[in-house]
């Protein structure tokens, strides 16, 4: 049996990134993700990598862009207000087809908000976030083991599709310590002939999001991006179902909210109420089809979130019968309560 | 005095800024009467005997439209 070790979520994510071959990290301090840059600052030099504390989130994501264009596996991490600043570079990288991994260990907003964990950046993460018609892949780990495992996957998906990948955690997950088995490298390698390495024995090449000429060049780039997004939607959805088959009510939740929802399902079952939980691990692409199929014959669907109902909109879009979809959420860093979920589900009986 | 060289002017690259003319120490460049395909006038040599091949015109040219042949 493989050895389990106790690690904080933020540390586990950083170690997993190094296992995945992340050689460069650029970041700027912000709570509640400060363990991530601290871990990289210590560990990356030990493995021949580069850690650099940037002068701002704007600079950090631009450094990520430069390193990615140079062909490296590169990562940054931040929390909500910092993520807003990083949208500039993320949009450029989406347009320039540059891979990278960005962790947003969310905290409550708007503005400076607070430092407690939250899920209020779902819209920002799953709707592109910056200017332009683009998407990023958004992974939603629910525990420390998954945070590490999905970090390995994040680097592979980024390189496979040449796309920024967001690990959307929250402050509770980042700060939580749990036993985990450190993941193994996936073993996958990706050629990067597009990288900016010097025009030796080949024509010069450049990486840019801008397309001014010829006419329609920008539409062409956008169509290429959309085609990539279509392939991702078809192939990369990950979701987990817990006791959904015979459930009358299906809860839909991700991340920390899903841990609480899961507990509510267990307690409801103890009381003879058939509840289940559908937990998306990819928020984009969102498991709309799976959700539609699973919930079609259910009496009720309840979205549980640490937001005012952001993923809830995707749940509504996916379900044919909107009337049976309900929402329960807590805002500004507050946690959903198991008892309140149970009460709500019981009210459907 | 025999010329030491001559400017070879690629009139199609020229945008007609005139920096070459203004910087020619011998004042032997002038704007053409005709236009290139962009509708721009370009420098021409008005005295083939005097060019010293100093490269001042080429040095100032933002379009790299002038090369110098040294005799």
């Amino acid at each position: 049996m493989e050895e389990k070790i106790l690690m904080k979520g933020n540390d586990a994510m950083a170690e997993a990134a190094i296992i995945a071959g992340c050689s460069h990290y650029f970041g700027y301090p912000i709570t509640p993700q400060n363990e991530v840059p601290a871990y990289f600052a210590k560990r990356l030099p030990q493995v021949g990598g580069t850690f650099l504390q940037a002068e701002s989130e704007l600079a950090a994501i631009s450094m990520v862009m430069g390193a990615s264009a140079g062909g490296a596996r590169v990562m940054t991490s931040t929390s909500s207000p910092g993520m807003s600043l990083k949208q500039e570079g993320i949009s450029y990288m989406a347009g320039a087809k540059l891979p990278c991994v960005i962790a947003n260990i969310m905290r409550g907003g708007p503005g400076l908000g607070g430092i407690a964990g939250s899920q209020a950046d779902y819209f920002q993460a799953t709707r592109g976030g910056g200017n332009g018609d683009y998407q990023t892949i958004v992974l939603a780990p629910g525990n420390v083991q998954e945070l590490a495992d999905l970090t390995i996957l994040a680097f592979d998906l980024a390189d496979k599709y040449r796309i920024p990948v967001i690990i959307l955690g929250d402050g509770y997950l980042g700060q939580m310590s749990e036993p985990l088995v450190l993941p193994k490298p996936s073993g996958k390698t990706f050629e990067k002939p597009w990288a900016i390495t010097g025009a030796k024995d080949r024509d010069p090449q450049f990486i840019a999001s801008m397309r001014l000429t010829p006419e329609n060049a920008l539409e062409q780039l956008n169509l290429e991006l959309q085609e990539t997004y279509r392939v991702i939607r078809e192939n990369e959805v990950i979701t987990e179902c817990y006791q959904c088959d015979d459930a009358d009510t299906v809860l839909v939740a991700y991340g920390t909210a899903a841990r609480i929802a899961n507990k509510a399902v267990i307690k409801l079952r103890e009381q003879g109420i058939n509840a289940g939980l559908l937990r998306p691990k990819t928020l984009w692409p969102f498991p709309s089809e799976i959700l539609r199929k699973i919930t079609n014959d259910k009496k009720k669907v309840l979205t549980v979130e640490m937001s005012a109902g952001q993923m809830h909109e995707d749940v509504l879009l996916a379900c044919d019968d909107k009337n049976k979809v309900d929402f329960y959420g807590r805002l500004g860093g507050a946690l959903p309560k198991v008892d309140e979920i149970i009460e709500r589900v019981k009210s459907y009986e | 005095m025999a010329a030491k060289g001559e400017p070879l002017i690629n009139s199609e690259r020229c945008k007609g800024c005139g920096l070459c003319i203004a910087n020619c120490p011998k004042n032997i460049l002038e704007m053409s009467k005709e236009f290139n395909s962009d509708g721009v006038t370009f420098p021409t040599l008005n005295d083939e005997e005097t060019c010293t091949a100093c490269t001042f015109c080429a040095t100032m040219c933002p379009e790299n439209a002038i090369q110098i042949r040294r005799f």
Binding site: H24, A96, T197, A208, M210 | K15, C61, P62
Partner: protein, 249 residues
């Protein structure tokens, strides 16, 4: 027997630029190309282009190129250089890019002594967007957004990049040049060459500011623009070598 001098540099693309007649960008691109040829480093040079008139600079030089968001070229160059350590990374920037939106990136890349070369073209105005006031716009200079002339009591005086960077410990080489006449174009080329040579030798951060004509947005013809640099800009922006640790050594 005749011999061609001032031949077309190999490192310069034959693509015609989109720059206006008399714009200094073309001169500076040409000088960079000549330097890359002379140092024989075209194949290992990576150009980071800014947002501004020189946003397409990577199309005009025969080198690998990368786009940066407005003001972020030094940060992008930092990331690139820290991956491609044996390559020559140039950050080519204008005044709005380098001193307004990118002031933070400029100062911090310089302060780290990042092993890159920043080529800063100062034409005292935003060119690409049609002539707005820049951090380097001269006192009294009229622009779209300073229609009565720059009022320094209201918006502050023109910023001097070399002097700012010269307050930092790390930079290896800092020089201000101009392209308004032949002597100064040649001096600019020497400065670019020295700055890039220092990067080839791994000496650290080098910075070359170049005063340059923007005839279109200054509302002057190219020859008068060159004169304006000489008479109005140079007294405020002294042309000199601020620092050369290679010479001090």
């Amino acid at each position: 027997m005749s011999k061609m001098t001032y031949a077309f540099p190999q490192s310069l693309s034959e693509t015609r630029t989109h720059y206006c007649a008399g714009c200094g960008h073309g001169i500076v691109h040409k000088l960079i190309a000549q330097v890359l040829d002379e140092l024989n480093i075209r194949e290992k040079t990576l150009l980071v282009a800014p947002v501004g008139c020189s946003v397409l600079a990577y199309k005009y030089l025969n080198v690998d190129g990368l786009e940066a968001a407005h003001g972020r070229a030094p940060a992008v160059a930092t990331g690139l250089k820290r991956v491609q350590k044996d390559k020559i990374v140039l950050s080519y920037q204008g005044d709005g890019d380098l001193l307004a939106i990118g002031a933070g990136e400029t100062i911090h890349a310089a302060n780290r002594g990042e092993d890159i070369t920043v080529i800063f073209l100062n034409n005292a105005i935003y060119g690409m967007t049609g002539g707005q006031m820049a951090p380097t716009t001269m006192e009294g200079q009229k622009t779209l957004t300073s229609p009565q002339g720059r009022d320094i009591a209201d918006v502050g005086s023109a910023m001097r990049a070399c002097e700012l960077i010269d307050t930092l410990e790390a930079p290896y080489y800092i020089e201000r040049c101009s392209v308004h006449d032949v002597k100064n174009v040649n001096r600019t080329k020497n400065a670019i060459k020295r700055a890039i040579k220092y990067q080839v030798e791994g000496r650290g951060y080098s910075f070359v500011e170049i005063l340059s004509m923007c005839p279109t947005n200054w509302g002057l013809d190219p020859v008068k623009s060159a004169k304006w640099i000489e008479e109005d800009m140079v007294p405020y922006y002294p042309l000199k070598k601020f620092r050369d640790k290679g010479e001090e050594a």
